[in-house]
């Protein structure tokens, strides 16, 4: 529709200026992609290939990175590999063929699961609390509403490290340090401010008349909320959920300070993967790749709502 409109407009950019604009943007996008492509390529290199100079663009793909990432073994000697029965697992085959030792343990899986549990748990809670509060702020005269909303937003201005000190002490007293519950509560609190602001914007746009009509028809306020407002707000709720999920998924500072083993998530863990004689870059790249995939999918799903989410709904599109 907008294309048809602008075709008639006087200001429609001419063809050559479009072509120049397109070329520059595509060039920038390709440069932006290089580090990401390199992460993926490194993840399917063998350790020697990953650190060869000049950097190898053509190489024989290897699954060693992924194998090292998920292994729980401390060490595999060539003798041990030779002693394995013939139809061994994929990873054993890889190591046997290359006659390499797996240095570990990496054991990425529990950290990845921690990330999943904490990110989804905190997202669910933040969206639940956020939806309720947003509806409250949107539909009722709340005393000091503006101040409360500003207070909610200002909780995001504190550097995470600054809040981490008292939270560290508090969690130590309550036995919540290094637990999934503690991290879920913490991320929920951080995300609830975003959820309230975003969802208030979405709910404000649903006409009040819908609920009023429902209430005239004999619905209670709560029923009207559940059966009229919630279904109308689904898109907004979904977008908010994905933003909360992305934050909780990517968060590093709190995770690095408040978790060490039990509840450690992937972001503080991936950089610590050490192989024989230094960082095991293929394994790090493999962990990074696996960790980035969900976010790539969400970015593509979310591109239309992105703007509101990153600006707390301050910019409407």
């Amino acid at each position: 529709m907008s294309a048809a409109n602008s075709a008639h407009s006087v200001v429609e950019p001419n063809r050559s200026s479009k072509r120049i604009a397109g070329t520059i943007v595509i060039l920038y996008a390709l440069i932006t992609l290089i580090p990401l492509v390199w992460i993926f390529l490194t993840s399917i290199k063998s350790p020697p290939d990953s650190i060869s100079y000049p950097p190898k663009i053509v190489f024989t793909p290897s699954l060693e990175g992924y194998c090292n990432l998920f292994t729980t073994r401390t060490r595999q000697t060539p003798d041990y590999i030779a002693s394995l029965p013939a139809p061994a697992g994929t990873c054993e085959e890889v190591t046997r063929k290359r006659n390499m030792v797996i240095a570990g343990p990496s054991n990425f899986l529990p950290r990845f699961i921690n990330s999943l549990v904490i990110a989804f748990g905190s997202t669910f809670l933040a969206v639940l609390l956020g939806t309720l509060a947003a509806y409250g702020f949107s539909r009722f005269k709340v005393p000091l509403a503006d101040d409360l909303l500003f207070f909610i937003l200002s909780t995001r201005m504190m550097p995470p490290i600054a809040v981490a000190i008292p939270i560290y002490l508090m969690y130590r007293e309550l036995g919540l340090s290094d637990t999934a519950v503690g991290m879920i509560l913490l991320y929920t609190a951080v995300n609830v401010s975003l959820a309230v602001w975003l969802l208030k914007g979405f709910i404000d746009e649903i006409p009040r008349e819908y609920e009023e009509a429902a209430m005239i028809d004999g619905y209670t306020r709560l029923q009207a909320f559940r059966k009229v407002v919630l279904p109308q707000a689904t898109t907004g709720i979904a977008a908010t959920a994905i933003f909360c999920l992305i934050f909780a998924w990517n968060e590093y500072a709190f995770a690095a300070l408040l978790t060490s083993g039990e509840a450690q998530t992937a972001p503080p863990f991936i950089p610590t993967i050490i192989g024989e004689g230094g960082q095991d870059w293929p394994a790090v790249a493999a962990g990074t790749t696996i960790f980035l995939i969900p976010i790539l999918v969400f970015t593509i799903l979310l591109r239309k709502q992105l703007l509101r989410g990153i600006t707390f709904g301050a910019v409407r599109k």
């Binding site: 397109g22 943007v25 390199w38 950089p271 990074t288 960790f291 600006t311």
Partner: protein
């Protein structure tokens, strides 16, 4: 479309309402709107009080004591304003604030210039612009720590792709391209990664600003035979300015808190040339275990961000009203 939509809703509402037993409806209706409002808002507020405000008050209390978190049983003594005095007189902390300001300044300049230029070009709506915009947005969705860690690999002078590419283009031997080990280059290594990651963010907000300018203003300028240059400076820039300023505000607050990327790329080094405020704070709190002094520093930081943000928002509102 809206009419049919709402009538569908009203019809279903009607049907469900008729199906609802009256007694239940009456009982729940006993809740006044005011009660519901508080019932809905309270959980979020209580959580924020427990996880944000209570720790903040605790931090304020600790900032007046000599408490050390690694000795929880040692007697706690009040030290008055001593911690604040030490923080404000500590040259290391001033150095860290200066480093932080340096990062905030350069990242904002670079991200605003590149981000706005990209948005301006994308706004030409060339073929496939939606696809390429989505590609450009990917870095900002990733974890700064995980990505920062991988950039450390790209920067390696012996094996990294970055040094190789720079040396290929410039002819400088790779051993001289020590991005993370060189005192002059290390801050720029971080600025480059931050710009790579967050330019899309600024671009997106600028794009919204450019799209908000109605076409008829340009049409009027065209009728008045205003040059493209003139149109750019008298229409495009002023109309998009509130959006650009908003992007600067959000990036400024975020980069003031910068921690993960610096930790993973340089850890504050070499020496302490990239030691930003958050890293110093972490050192004081979790390495020196001077919890009281760290709390005082945290409060000073918070007041600084909060104050600067408030002044900035006032300026932003003035621009908006113009």
């Amino acid at each position: 479309m809206t009419i049919s939509h709402s009538s569908i809703i009203e019809n279903t509402v009607d049907a469900t309402a008729r199906a609802t037993p009256v007694s239940v409806a009456r009982r729940v209706r006993g809740l006044s709107d005011r009660a519901i409002a508080w019932l809905f808002i309270a959980p979020a507020i209580i959580l924020l009080l427990a996880i944000n405000i209570f720790p903040l008050i605790w931090a304020i209390y600790l900032s007046f004591t000599n408490y050390r978190a690694n000795r929880p049983n040692a007697p706690v003594q009040g030290v008055g304003l001593g911690n604040y005095q030490r923080v404000l007189n500590d040259p290391d902390i001033w150095q860290a604030m200066q480093t932080t300001a340096h990062f905030v300044f350069w990242t904002i300049i670079l991200q605003t210039v590149i981000g706005f230029s990209l948005a301006y070009l994308i706004d030409r709506k060339f073929r496939g612009h939606a696809f390429w915009t989505t590609i450009i947005l990917i870095p900002m969705m990733l974890s700064p720590a995980v990505v920062g860690n991988f950039w450390r690999f790209l920067y390696e002078p012996q094996i990294g792709l970055f040094a190789y590419a720079v040396s290929l283009v410039s002819g400088i031997p790779t051993s001289d391209i020590q991005m993370l080990g060189n005192v002059t280059l290390a801050p720029w290594a971080i600025i480059i990664v931050d710009t790579w990651m967050w330019t899309p963010y600024v671009m997106l907000i600028c794009l919204a600003g450019l799209r908000s300018i109605p076409d008829y203003i340009y049409e009027a300028a065209e009728v008045d035979r205003a040059s493209p240059w003139r149109q750019f400076w008298s229409i495009t820039v002023p109309m998009a300015l509130p959006f650009i300023m908003l992007a600067v505000l959000f990036r400024g607050i975020e980069n003031f808190k910068m921690f993960d990327m610096v930790t993973l790329l340089t850890g504050g080094g070499p020496g302490s040339v990239t030691e930003v405020a958050s890293i110093t704070l972490k050192r004081v709190a979790f390495e020196s275990w001077a919890t009281g002094r760290a709390s005082a520093f945290a409060i000073v930081l918070f007041v600084a961000v909060f104050g600067l943000a408030n002044i900035y928002v006032k300026a932003l509102n003035r621009v908006k009203q113009r």
